[in-house]
Amino acid sequence: MVAKFFHDSYKKRDSPELYIDAALGQLTLDENAPQATGGDQDINLTVAVHGGKGTVRQGVVRHLVVRFELPDGLHIYGPPVPDGMIATTVTIEGPEGFMVMAPELPATEKLTLPGIAELNVWHGTVDLIYPFYATGELASECRPLDVLSIDIKVLVRYQACTDQECLLPRTETLTLSLDLDVIDIPAIDLHKGHGQREANYDGTAALKRLLARKIKQNPLGVPVFLAKTLWLQMGALLRKLSR
């Protein structure tokens, strides 16, 4: 096994593209997903969303990729850095419910210069990855969407240097507009009124097959399950009424 993804909630899951990247050992950005570019004539800076064409939906993890393309001889710094030097930092601002997870940063290389403590540097093409997802506050699957798209601000601060000299530190703010995904819910009584959009497929037949299989496997299981569900539902209703 070369990679493993596991989340603390069944609601959280990775975009399929992230599995493919892990299997292939490379990151291929989708040119049709939202991207913004910065940098200058020497350094290319791209901020892109990877996975699901850059859309946002509850619990589904996409990647926000901050990609530096540095020419030969230039490097940027990873933390920690000595006083007076600038480590690369990325700050992501989004609306309530836009959750950014711990970044996945490539390993730095050690650079030792005379008179300066050991430095951690990146050079060449550097991908700083910030996984993100939405909670129910932003994109619940149980109510229509409040908005159809959101703006994400990405503040990137960095300083590029050669082994002899440094360029001025730069701070760039790039903005991405991300569409929220609409989730279809099967048109069965159980889900009616709770989806973002009631789908045009009837899930009743599938639900009947599921129930028949469950009853066959464990005849007592279904009544116990229904009784427990009813009990929990009453509790939820009481909590709602008491708010």
Binding site: M1, V2, F6, M99, T135, A236
Partner: protein, 72 residues
């Protein structure tokens, strides 16, 4: 049905505590780790034909996904 938000911030069309919303118990194994070989197993394909995981992939890379409900 009442919609409730869990402590992760997720909404679902089932009340809190519903078995369908349960997560893995604290400390439960999450299976083989990186670097380990997956165990030998054979499962039916969508057509009902048995698939021997290691034999049928014949050394090619693969992605194994376990999920509840196919919402992506």
């Amino acid at each position: 049905m009442v919609v409730e938000r869990d402590h992760h911030g997720f909404d679902a069309p089932a009340p809190l505590g519903h078995p369908g919303r349960a997560g893995l118990p604290e400390g439960h194994s999450t299976g083989p780790e990186i670097g380990q070989r997956l165990p030998e197993f054979t499962l039916p394909s969508a057509d009902g034909n048995p698939v021997d995981y290691h034999a049928d992939r014949a050394g090619r890379k693969s992605v194994v996904v376990f999920y509840r409900s196919a919402v992506w």
